[in-house]
Amino acid sequence: MMTENTTNTANKPMLEIKDLRVLFPVHKKWLPAVDGVSLSVRPGEITGVVGESGSGKSVMSQSILRLRDHDTAVRYEGEILFEGENLLKKPLAEMRDIRGDRISIIFQDPLNSLSPVHTVGMQLSEILMLHRGMAKREAGERAVEMLKMTGIPNPENCIKKYPYELSGGMQQRVMITMALACEPRLLIADEPTTALDVTIQEQILHLIHGLNEKLGMSVLFITHDMGAVSQLCHSIKVMYLGQVVESAETEKLFAGPLHPYTKGLLACIPHLNVERGRSLPVIDGTVPSLSKMPEGCHFCTRCKSVGERCEKMQPPLIEAAPGHFVKCWKYVDDGRQGEEVRL
């Protein structure tokens, strides 16, 4: 534990989100899709963000790049510090230089995220020409090298192809290649394996892992797949309704989950040796809509061990065990009540 703490202080976080709130207007009221999230990603670290649909994980990741600013009304509170700069204070023109260059993102659906009217080579060299000022020829050669690195067989042939001519796995590889073209410091992977079948998922996870080790870039890995995070991530944040409810290193979280929601998520992973005909474990209920947010703990409507104060007041995020943070009343002893910890 000691050694870990010292490395923590030695490595300044590359991305630090402080108390981020992202609000959208719904019926003339501003409702938070992300409600006070704090997290940090250190250089070279893979951080997993897990949660159901609607837990705000995608909104959070898109806020880092300020993607929603262009067409929707959106309000931010808090800070997103990337290498010491607050991204929320940057003009959009400067954000444009950061996007794709220092921070890249890969999406769920590779086919629709690639332009159908340009070849793979054209799309790849376009980014290099844009951010690196390369000449067309040079960019083309670099594109082939990059494709080789992400494990695409016969890259010289691949750059001449249109995205629809490639298989799903190849498309996702191309997407990753594009995201990595400018060797970003941070890669945001927004459910990159959801649209792929299991064998390809495995390959893509391996690829991200390998590139993380080789290039030393940080990864913010967003998913609802507990299996994927357990393989890939150094630390995990569990999100529910726009809040981080539990945060710990991967081994700790899987060895001893604290929050009832995390326990539920882990219990829901289907096992092959389950008796036939027995119903699979689920978390009862659905994610409440933003406008019907419970007053107390956000999870109280679905929690099995709900208590009296859960419905009245939000629990603070506390350090229940060293390095293991949880936002649940069960772990708050009255002496320390209200003593909130910031990650």
């Binding site: 790049l65 993607l67 262009h70 067409d71 444009r96 230089d97 950061i98 996007r99 794709g100 260059d101 890249s104 993102i105 999406f107 659906d109 629709n112 995220s113 690639l114 332009s115 159908p116 009217v117 340009h118 376009e126 980014i127 844009l130 951010h131 067989p153 016969n154 042939n157 001519e165 997407m175 594009m178 995201a179």
Partner: protein, 298 residues
């Protein structure tokens, strides 16, 4: 791995071959496209080649030969000044195609710029689309007459007036298609890769509007030819004595009971030219849009 790859490329080669075959079948199965294209090509060829084919001056008056019916000497007869109608018809085609072509090109260029930017920037959208609404609300031919009354009659002014009349419809078509593409994930992906708006508009959105634009352009070409003929007929078009189909129709108004060929010939020319362009446009639309079965179902 390489063996596997060879196989997949062989497969995709076969798929391409099949696609090419399918495309050829589609093309052959839509006679409209072929007939329209052929008709238009004939008119275009005659218009381009007429100075080489005949050395008759379209404006030379031969008073002795006035109002001669079609014969070996004058293929389609002569008009009231003894001018050869066939030669004038061909020179008229030059005017019509020139005006129609220019209007189609200019209104497409302006319409694409307006439509693409309107689809992407909300405030600009409101301004441009209200201007378009205003222009569309006025009947096209009236607007053109008013503009020409202000500008004076010349072929360039006719082109300018008709361009103003047809630009809004192009802008609307382009805007509608561009708005669909704007919402595609790959445009969002381009944004996160740090693409500037300019690049997104011209490199990603423009290719997607080309096919509806081509169809629209062929219809505007046809409409502009009719409009130019109407304007000339009303005396607001290409000024006489230049040969233009509208002028010829107008001149035949008083004499057509004695010399019906003076009206039938330019009228038929307008009909043929516009019909081929419309067939071409319809055919192109069916051919380019994979959702319509077109004539391919047989």
């Amino acid at each position: 791995m390489s063996l596997l790859h060879k196989n997949t490329s062989a497969v995709s080669e076969a798929v391409f071959k099949e696609q090419r075959q399918l495309r050829r079948e589609r093309l052959l199965a839509s006679p409209g496209l072929i007939i329209g294209f052929a008709g238009f090509a004939v008119v275009l060829a005659l218009a381009l080649l007429v100075p080489a084919l005949s050395d008759t001056d379209p404006n030379a008056m031969v008073v002795i030969d006035r109002l001669k019916p079609p014969s070996g000497e004058h293929l389609l007869g002569t008009d009231e000044f003894g001018r050869d109608l066939f030669v004038r018809l061909m020179y008229g085609a030059r005017v019509s195609l020139w005006v129609g072509g220019c209007v189609a090109v200019f209104s497409c260029v302006l319409g694409v710029i307006a439509g693409i930017y309107a689809s992407y920037f909300k405030i600009l959208d409101h301004i441009l689309m209200r201007i378009c609404d205003g222009l569309i609300a006025i009947p096209g031919i009236l607007l053109a007459i008013a503009l020409i009354a202000a500008l004076g009659t010349s072929s360039w002014n006719v082109i300018a007036a008709l361009t103003i009349v047809y630009t809004p419809s192009v802008a609307r078509t382009v805007r509608a298609s561009a708005m669909v593409i704007r919402e595609q994930p790959y445009v969002e992906a381009a944004k996160v890769q740090g693409f500037t708006n300019f690049r997104i508009l011209w490199k990603l959105i423009l290719p997607g509007v080309i096919s509806p634009l081509t169809v629209q352009a062929s219809f505007i070409f046809a409409q502009a030819i009719i409009s130019e003929a109407s304007l000339s007929f009303l005396g607001a078009g290409v000024p006489a004595p230049a040969a233009s189909w509208g002028n010829m129709l107008q001149a035949s108004k008083l004499i057509f009971s004695k010399a019906p060929w003076t009206m039938i010939c330019p009228g038929a020319a307008v009909i043929l030219c516009v019909l081929s362009l419309n067939l071409l446009g319809d055919g192109l639309r069916d051919f380019m849009d994979p959702r319509t079965e077109g004539g391919a179902k047989k």
